[in-house]
Amino acid sequence: MSIDFEYIDRLLIVRINGDIDHHSCEEIRSKIDKEIIAKNPKSILFDMGQVGFMDSSGIGVLIGRYKLIADSGGKAGMINVKPQIMRLCEICGLQKIIKIYAGKKQAVASIKE
């Protein structure tokens, strides 16, 4: 598991590479939180294109990061979500909190507006 960060102005794009389960969660959480504390982004976009597996532990982590960002008035979104993970998000009602966008352009436009 590895994480890449990219910025478009104050929008933090987080690309997670690898499975998101309870085992990898702690590392994912601490890496993203360190980045948020250091760079103070306004909003956050999760690029899930390199995530092949996720279970409800991942839902917990994503919601946790969303809360951090939302507390200071930011928005959160997801892109490149694979069908299997899409279903998990639906079951858990995640898309009501973290919107799933069709692509990066749409996501950036909508989150930054």
Binding site: H22, G60, Q84, C92
Partner: protein, 143 residues
Amino acid sequence: MKADNEMKLEFLSKSQNESFARSVVAAFAAQLDPTIEELAEIKTAVSEAVTNAIIHGYSREIGIVVIVSRIISNRVEIEVKDFGVGISDIELARQPLYTSKPELERSGMGFTVMETFMDKVEVESKTGEGTTIYMTKTIMTVR
């Protein structure tokens, strides 16, 4: 009913074994020639049950998690068992969003995910003795 195939896996309740456990069950279930979607559903359900055994059943101590899986015609049965603290109120535990460990950022959706992805989920548990999750899923071979 006699199983066409059967396996039993025991492993330590270490979080690095979560991905190991779900890939073992997926490799075993693969003989039913499931779709990628069905296989992902099985993996996710197993991951939920195994994670629960590790973090809720055993918390900080290391115990043994047991998975028994059987193939009976086109159905896969999966049992995930721990000998940990057990669940005092099973009905409450199964409620969507209920978690006893919100401080760990648990979503409380593990049981709901298992129930959605598998055909049947039964929970047997006794406080202080442990928990067994019993799940089945029929693989739709007609593509």
